[in-house]
Amino acid sequence: MMKNIRKVSCVLLIMASLFTISCKKDFLDKKPATNLNIPTTLADMRLLLDNTAVLNRSPAIGEESADDYYMTFEEWQNQYSPKDANAYIWAKEIWAGKTNVVEWNKPYGQVLYANVVLEQLNKIVKNSSNEIDYNNIKGNALFLRAWSFFDLVQIFAVPYDTKTYDTDPGIPLRLTADINSPTTRASLRETYHQILDDAIQAKALLSLPTSVKNGNRSSKAAAFAFLSRIFLTMRDYKQSGLYADSALNLTSALMDYNTLDTASSTPFLYDNAEVIYQNYLVDNNPIIYVSNSINYSIDTTLYKAYEPDDLRKFLYFQNNAGFINKKGTYSSNSLNSNGLTTDELFLTRAECSVRNGNIHAGLEDLNKLLLTRYSTGKYQLFTTSNPADALNKILLERRKELVMRGLRWNDIRRLNKEGYNILLKRSLNGQVYTLPPNDPKYALPIPPDVISLSGIKQNDR
């Protein structure tokens, strides 16, 4: 019996030691997939922030609802997704009961990335060796969150108006990655306050731009330019002009359009000298077809506004069987770029200067820009002493220069608040649809699944 017990203990010992040898303590800590990463380091955060397909995208439905293009009745009838057809005629219902609305889910998905990065950053100790990286990543995430909120507020809330902004509903402001925290709608005032807060923090944290090759990453110049765009939307022309000025102090290069190839189908590169921050409108919507399809065209009156010596007429557009397609965008491909660029800043600064009473400075910016847009020697400097004429010229050139850059919808909303009375009109098979200035339909309805799952208030339309 003793012999057996000895034998058994011996065997048990061997088996136990084999277990210990074959199986180290961290055996189960191995991550299940090589490409699966638990974001903990600054490098991991950078990887998340470089997800351009998720992050550097803005909804296109604002541009879809704006007046720079048209489609034929036949195409309108054949729209693959009902929301595109509905948005085109500013119908009361847009989403046709569909859930997973990209216009809502995409920006809030970006907000989750920003919040994950911001929360994980709290667990990293900032020291002298990682400070620049740390600040840049934090600035990047804040910039991103502000950008997404800004995209959302242009679509799902009425235009900014200090008279009503305490009672006008804004958008839900999610500042945490915790999916269990409830969703509530902030007021329009709180919404812009948060956007400015994030963007101003980002401005302080971000470094100077390094290379346009990294145009997907925000920089200090991008934060200035973005703040200028935000303040312009808020009709705060003083701040907007100042930030445009700050941005242009950092980078003010303009391309001479004479050096570009008008025959090329992609005359602009995604990393051209004017790009400060690169961002694109999502595809799979009529806006993408305006770039390459018949039955979609740039608004004829707008097209006619380009003079024969205006190189943009040939660099921006091509005639496709009678339809004016918008070929060149600042993206090297058919995606429409709505990023931040120096040409926008010149136009913004010009507008703000005039509105702030400095016509001379405004026209200087305008002429400086247009000189690079016309065939060499063909541009007549624009001069006037009438502020209204100057403003109208600048706004027309703004529309012409920034066509299909995702800005027209914001501008219409803003200018109608300034009393420009822009009436949007579509004609389809004899039926005319209109969107009167400052109509509640300038705020699109919140997607039905969001309403049912969160209980937040729907927009009145």
Partner: protein, 1066 residues
């Protein structure tokens, strides 16, 4: 044997003397083996006229204490002829060989769990054993296919819609107990979970298969056992057996598939539709689009006619020609063939006193029905066992090697877009067919400066070179040390490595390469120069998959019998598994036979030649890998009292690198308990007609895991964004509470046999799945719209009956086996509410609380209106508000049409034998489920999806009043996709799936040495086998085989196959 005979002689001489000399033998020992030298566990050894008895242990050893000298012992056991040894004088009886009783109805079935082998009659759980004879009844290349129609409770799922994310496995055991986690049963080969490709196993190397169905049988596999376990055991040698050579060879010829099975609109009627659409201007946008999309030949003719390029007589003549053509005849003639499968297998096995061996080699060569597709496999298998130290140490080493080559060079019928295409002209030249671009465009595009842009399917047959080569090695080692009788320790180790390389070479002549090069060709207008960024040459895509797994197990086994009352068998151990897989993709451009490769700049965006769009040259390079690691602890015991009461229990805990720390540290082990009672052994039992009755009850938990989830916040790396920076994507939000799914199963079993006529098993089970992985909708504002976690529950129950009847015995024999299974499940908790009825009717996996996981939901049909538009009931009214109906979130507007998978199924197998002939036929049935038949709808017809009965075209609503005669809606232009969906998913198209088919017929003739003394071999069998014989009855009137329901594409029932073969033993 000699020894025993001598004893018997001595006993006869000394009968009186021994009665006087009452001396006791302290310990009487012996070991019982069968004719093959294998030890027989579980035999009952008793001393005549006393109550003392003992069951042999797993080594076949028995020990009886205090036996009177001269006593007689009897040995009995199911499946063996009873034996007696009289006049015991010596304490050691040595090795006793007893004879198998082939005439006994209940042959002893040894079931294997992968941890132990036990006689089925001593197990409390639910096991099904498929023995070698049954495995060899069918002639398939894949081992698992041989379970079809012969395994109680197991069904092969058909019509699996992979593209629809239905998460259905091809095999289900006792229905379904998970939603999103792995749906496949665990496959165990030679005691370890199998991670390789099952196609690499040669069925001729397999001895038997055991299927573990309930908790008591399977819970030893813990978190992997939720879907049942299939245990495959390889052939091994036998002790003290002269070398036996086994040869098996067969050839199987399969008929050409019936391409006309799937109903389809005729060419003539489709041309009619094209005329109609052309008139309506449907094609105008495609005709004028700058990307030159493909047009059908008929539309091309109509365009030419409109542009006055041809006369109306010519166009009519050309079009008439197309009306008479049918692509299916062309496909059948040029793309399909008879399948031919050849199998050769040669094995040798045997053993001496201290060693066993098995060596085999197999070769398979399969030519598929689709020309250009074939499969070759070579398997080599060597297994050796040595015993040392008086058999105290047993050491087994097995090596398995497989090499496979699969060619996938067939031309997919999906590339033939129109129903009237011809593949060859009258003089035998391969014709080009419209594929991606308009024929007129590619005829002239680039004028000589581009590569030929035509697509000729039959040329592609020769150009395709898509080959997958798989090499797999498996080494399995078992070391067993017997510490003392009844107690042993074993170590097992297995290393498995496989490498599969799929090499898809598009040579320079292939359409793919020509098209890709042309797409990127750049034309500089001012200079008139054409440049090709994708260089002329072949394109080679490689996909390299490597997997390896290591398994290590330490286990202690104990078995002991105390006098005649108490028997204990127990095991405990641990197991470590490490499973790795890597996937590598690469692409080479400008590839030629010499291995030359071109350098490519992947960054620029090029304008496509055929459109104004731009794109980059695809780099197609990636590398990913997975690592799954597990540490498991397990234990199992079974206690037998008085040979008739058995109590069993088992438990297992799994830790894994995919669970969170919480689950690994605090997780509760999965466990089971069971009991059985052999009533016929009770003294009060007197039913002579029912000599064997046993009741079994078990309860316990099985588990399941979802490898795609992780407990921490994770991101998946991507290789390069638009700026060529590495990046990563957030996956499911963090879930620290992630744990395995649990399935609780209660099983009631009754085993019985009626004399020699009928025996069987009846089982009833209840299943409750909890903590199942389910999705829930979350407010998209949080950043994700769906969250996956342990949030769902399911329930199910069912019955498995298997009956064996020996109807006639004698020179002419007739046996019948009936399998009957009923299985149903329902989702009892599911947090994600279908946001709209559209997903409930159309998605592949649509969990709805209160209904089976796979269910058909339909709109309630209300007939056609006077315009020929479909109407359904919506909020109790006849309605045409298609969009509102389809997008409604109110599921109460849907009809539950019934389960989508068979709820009742089984088989009836009759076997007739006469002299050396055995004929058997297996009829299988599937009942109690529903499917949707395809029918004409405008969207599909207009986009060229024509798989519905041709007669419906003429039979559709065409004029007012037709609504009284037909239920087929009018073609409406422009097509309203939602209107068509409403009809497609209405209950008028739901059909009963019930059917019965004659699955196969097998005929075997065995030459035995007894009858043919001149036979040069030990035994020789000739066999013939016909599979997929035909459907005998079906409930639906649509003429469809419910196992092959067309769903927008051409399918065909598995063609009938005929096999002949020879099996010989030397």
């Amino acid at each position: 044997m000699k020894k025993i005979t001598i004893y018997i002689v001595i006993a006869a001489l000394c009968l009186n003397f021994t009665a006087l000399a009452q001396v006791t033998i302290q310990n009487l020992k012996g070991k019982i083996i069968d004719e093959n030298g294998l030890p027989i566990p579980g035999l009952n050894v008793s001393i005549k006229n006393t109550k003392t008895h003992f069951l042999t242990d797993r080594q076949g050893v028995f020990i009886l204490s205090k036996v009177a000298r001269g006593a007689t012992i009897t040995i009995t056991g199911v499946g063996y002829k009873p034996a007696e040894i009289t006049n015991i004088q010596d304490g050691d009886l040595g090795t006793i060989t007893i004879q198998t009783d082939n005439n006994r109805l209940n042959e002893v079935e040894i079931v294997s769990t992968g941890y132990q082998s036990i006689p089925k009659e001593r197990a409390t759980g639910s096991f099904v054993q498929i023995d070698n004879k049954l495995l060899n009844r069918s002639v398939t290349t894949n081992i698992l296919d041989r379970l079809a129609g012969v395994t109680s409770g197991l069904i092969f799922n058909k019509n699996i819609n992979v593209g629809n994310n239905s998460n259905q496995s091809s095999i289900s055991i006792r229905g379904r107990s998970t939603i999103y986690a792995n749906p496949n049963p665990l496959i165990v080969v030679d005691n370890f979970p199998y991670t390789g490709d099952l196609s690499s196993i040669n069925p001729n190397d397999i001895e038997s298969i055991t299927v573990l169905k309930d908790a008591a049988a399977a819970s030893i596999w813990g978190a992997f056992s939720g879907n049942g376990v299939i245990v495959i055991t390889s052939k091994k040698g036998k002790y003290n057996q002269a070398p036996t050579i086994e040869l098996n060879t067969s050839i199987t010829i399969g008929e050409k598939p019936n391409l006309f099975y799937t109903p389809r609109l005729s060419s003539e009627n489709y041309i009619d539709v094209e005329h109609f659409l052309f008139q309506k201007g449907y094609y105008n946008s495609a005709i004028s689009r700058s990307s030159h999309p493909v047009l059908s030949p008929v539309v091309d003719i109509l365009v030419n006619r409109r542009n006055k390029l041809i006369s109306s007589a010519d166009s009519a003549k050309l079009i008439n020609q197309y009306k008479g053509q049918d692509t299916r005849s062309e496909q059948s003639a040029y793309l399909y063939q008879r399948s031919v499968n050849q199998q050769y297998s040669l094995g040798i096995r045997g053993g001496g006193n201290n060693n066993l061996y098995y060596f085999s080699t197999g070769f398979n060569k399969d030519l598929s029905n689709l020309k250009g597709n074939d499969f070759n496999r070579i398997t080599i298998n060597a297994s050796d066992t040595y015993t040392f130290l008086n058999k105290k140490i047993q050491w087994t080493n097995s090596v398995y090697f497989t090499k496979e080559k699969t060619s996938n060079n067939g031309v997919s019928p999906g590339n033939l877009l129109y129903p009237y295409l011809k593949l060859k002209d009258e003089s035998g030249n391969n014709l080009s067919v419209p594929y991606q671009y308009r024929q007129g465009y590619i005829d002239t595009a680039g004028r000589e400066n581009l590569l030929d842009w035509h697509y000729r399917p039959l040329d592609e047959l020769g150009n395709n070179d898509n080959t997958t080569r798989l090499t797999e090695y498996r080494y399995n080692m078992q070391l067993r040390y017997t510490i003392f009788s009844g107690f042993d320790a074993s170590l097992q180790y297995q290393y498995d490595e496989g490498n599969s390389v799929q090499s898809n070479l598009y040579n320079q002549d292939s359409y793919y390469a020509r098209d890709y090069i042309n797409q990127f060709t750049q034309y500089n207008k001012p200079t008139g120069i054409y440049t090709m960024p994708v260089p002329i040459g072949g394109i080679l895509d490689d996909l390299n998959k490597t997997f390896s797994s290591q398994n290590f197990r330490g286990q202690l086994n104990y078995a002991h019998q105390w006098n005649d009352k108490h028997g204990l068998s127990a095991l405990a151990g641990y197991e470590i598994r490490d499973i790795n897989a890597t996937y590598k993709n690469s692409r080479l451009y400008g590839y030629d036979d010499l291995g030359n490769v071109a350098l490519i700049d992947y960054t620029p965006y090029y304008k496509y030649f055929y459109s104004s769009g731009t794109g980059r040259i695809a780099q197609n390079a990636s590398q990913t890998g997975t690592v799954n690691r597990f540490i498991s602890y397990f234990a199992n015991f079974s206690y037998t009292f008085k040979n008739r009461y058995i109590l069993s229990a088992s438990g297992r805990k799994d830790e894994s690198n995919i669970f969170g720390v919480n689950t690994n540290q605090k997780g509760v082990p999965l466990w089971s308990v069971g009991g059985s009672w052999e009533i016929n052994k009770e003294l009060f039992y007197h039913l002579n007609w029912l000599p064997y009755v046993r009741l079994r009850v078990t309860n316990g938990y099985n588990g399941n895991v979802d490898n795609t989830l992780s407990s921490s916040i994770t991101a998946i790396a991507g290789s390069g964004n638009a700026y060529n920076q590495p990046y990563s994507t957030l996956t499911n939000p963090p879930n620290p509470l992630l744990r395995w799914e649990k399935v609780n199963t209660t099983n009631f079993g009754l085993d019985f046999s009626l004399k020699k006529v009928l025996s069987g098993t009846i089982e009833y089970y209840l299943k409750k799945g909890s903590d199942l992985i389910g999705t829930s909708n979350v407010d998209p504002t949080v950043g994700v719209s769906i969250f996956k976690g342990n949030s769902a529950n399911m329930q199910g129950h069912g019955i498995d009956i298997s009956l064996n009847s020996r109807n006639i015995e004698g020179a002419f024999g007739w046996n019948t086996t009936l399998l009957f299974s009923y299985s149903t499940n329902k989702v009892t908790k599911y947090l994600l509410k279908s946001a709209s009825v559209s997903s409930a009717v159309s998605s592949g996996l649509n969990p709805v609380e209160g209904n089976p996981l796979y269910s058909l939901y339909s709109f309630k049909w209300a007939g056609l209106d006077t315009k020929g538009d479909p109407q359904v009931y919506y909020n109790n009214e006849v309605s045409k508000k298609y969009s509102a109906i389809y997008n409604s979130a109110d599921l109460s507007n849907l009809q539950y049409s019934g389960p989508a998978n068979p709820t009742t199924f089984g088989s009836l197998r009759n076997e007739f034998s006469y002299k050396g002939f055995t004929l058997s036929a297996n009829i299988i049935y599937k009942l109690g489920y529903y499917f949707r038949r395809p029918s004409l709808n405008s969207s599909d017809v207009f986009t060229g999806q024509l798989y519905f009965p041709d007669a419906e075209y003429a039979g559709r609503w065409q004029k007012a009043g037709d609504e009284k005669l037909t239920q087929i809606p009018a073609l409406s232009y422009p097509a309203d996709a939602v209107r068509d969906q409403i009809y497609k998913y209405s209950d008028i198209l739901v059909e009963k799936g019930d059917h019965i088919r004659l699955q196969d017929i097998s005929l075997n003739y065995e030459f035995t040495k007894g009858k043919f003394s001149g036979l040069p071999v030990g035994s020789l069998s000739l066999y013939g086998y016909i599979s997929n014989v035909g459907i005998l009855w079906k409930a639906n009137k649509a003429g469809l085989d419910p196992d092959y329901v067309p769903n927008g594409a051409m399918i065909y029932p598995n063609p009938r196959t005929y096999s002949i073969g020879v099996r010989a033993k030397f």
